[in-house]
């Protein structure tokens, strides 16, 4: 049995989970993405509530396993992970840091406030505003494929959802 400090707090769990990365966009943590919706600690028992980005997101099982592994690594063994569908995930839950990290990584972050899935503010490589949609469906469900008319580089855009 691992000794658990009696004063396990929700804040600590949030910190632990900010070390869990999304398997498909590894620069983002599950906290950046807004996948972790709630954490409760009641009498030392932890409950983590997560929500999928898209219904068919194949990363969900892995994310759950990764959260599982992280909590065990931190010496926490009394926990449950619950998946909820409502309210439906939206890119508005993505953190500011998350958006900055995406851009740094070469993926144009969701341009919140735009109509529908929106369009990228600029090319993440050369910053040109002259970009063109190639396909509404990209390498993962959450992204669309764009090409920059200025530097000619194709890039992913994280869709508003």
């Amino acid at each position: 049995m691992i000794e658990r400090s009696p004063g396990l707090t929700e804040g600590e769990i949030w910190n632990h989970l900010s070390e869990v990365c999304d398997p498909e966009v590894p620069v983002l943590t599950v906290i950046d993405l807004g996948i972790v919706r709630n954490i409760q600690v009641v009498n030392g028992k932890v409950k983590v509530v997560i929500t999928p980005t898209y219904s068919g997101c194949p990363a969900m099982n892995i994310i759950e396993q990764d959260i599982n592994a992280k909590l065990i690594e931190k010496g926490i063994d009394n926990f449950t992970i619950e998946t909820v569908l409502t309210p439906a995930w939206t890119t508005e839950w993505m953190s500011k840091e998350g958006k900055a990290k995406l851009k740094e990584y070469g993926i144009a972050p969701p341009n919140i406030g735009a109509v529908g899935s929106g369009r990228p503010k600029e090319c993440p490589n050369c910053r040109s505003k002259d970009t063109k949609l190639k396909s509404e469906f990209g390498s993962t469900a959450c992204k669309a494929l764009y090409v920059c008319e200025s530097c000619k580089e194709p890039f992913d855009y994280f869709k508003c959802h």
Partner: protein
């Protein structure tokens, strides 16, 4: 439909469409998985989503006839997709107001995804229907062949009335009139003509399917049947 779209993976006419069809298929499989989990819970016989997907035979499937039709060429796949997407969109929009919280949650989640699907297939119907002589002929042909399965989308079955009275499911006649006006307007815009005097095939809600579903299930269910309870 998710399975049918997965058959295009690696075979799409262009890379972007290969990815699009795979993405849409993935959304649909994800939505089906949520719905089957709910169905299993309601049934109360401890059947999981996988049991329901992989261990039922043709007659136990109640999917609408349109979605089991073969892919054909890309145009035909898009026609099948569009006719379904419009139905799916209006159905899920109505279910987003369902009195059943679980159904409501699945529908609200799905609706965001279906909005992309419909926008995508709609663009192709316009582009190909109103495109070259060749693309127009193919789209008209696809419409002629698939139209006979469109009425099956709106067939009710025993028990629907009760669920409708309770505000759990919408009235399918209302969905049909929304579908009719949207689909007819777009087909006209795409210079396509709805075939007349078509024999309308129905029966999915009773488990009566076209010959294609058996072949589809043979492929889809092969692995779990050959290696029961395999995990990966």
């Amino acid at each position: 439909m998710g399975h049918r779209l997965s058959e295009w993976t690696g075979h799409g006419p262009i890379l972007e469409e290969d990815i699009a069809m795979t993405n849409i298929g993935l959304d649909l499989v994800g939505q089906a998985s949520s719905l089957l989990t709910l169905a299993g819970d309601i049934e109360g016989e401890e059947r999981s989503e996988d049991d329901l997907a992989y261990k039922r035979d043709v007659k136990e499937f109640k999917n609408t006839l349109l979605v089991e039709q073969v892919n054909g060429d890309f145009g035909r796949t898009m026609m099948r997709q569009y006719l379904f997407d419009v139905f799916h969109f209006h159905l899920m929009q109505a279910l987003s107001d369902s009195k059943d919280e679980r159904l409501k949650a699945i529908a609200s989640k799905s609706l965001k995804e279906i909005t992309y699907h419909k926008r995508h297939s709609r663009e192709w119907i316009k582009r190909l229907g109103d495109g070259t002589e060749e693309s127009h002929a193919r789209m008209q042909n696809a419409l002629n062949e698939l139209w006979m399965f469109s009425d099956d989308l709106f067939v009710s079955c025993d028990g629907d009335q009760e669920l409708e009275d309770k505000g759990i499911i919408p009235n399918l006649d209302n969905i049909k009139s929304q579908w009719d006006s949207e689909v007819k307007a777009l087909l006209k815009e795409a210079s396509l003509t709805i075939p007349e005097e078509v024999f309308m095939m129905k029966g999915s809600r009773k488990g009566i399917h076209t010959e294609h579903l058996g072949y589809l299930l043979a492929e889809m269910q092969f692995l779990p049947r050959a290696y029961p309870d395999a995990k990966w």
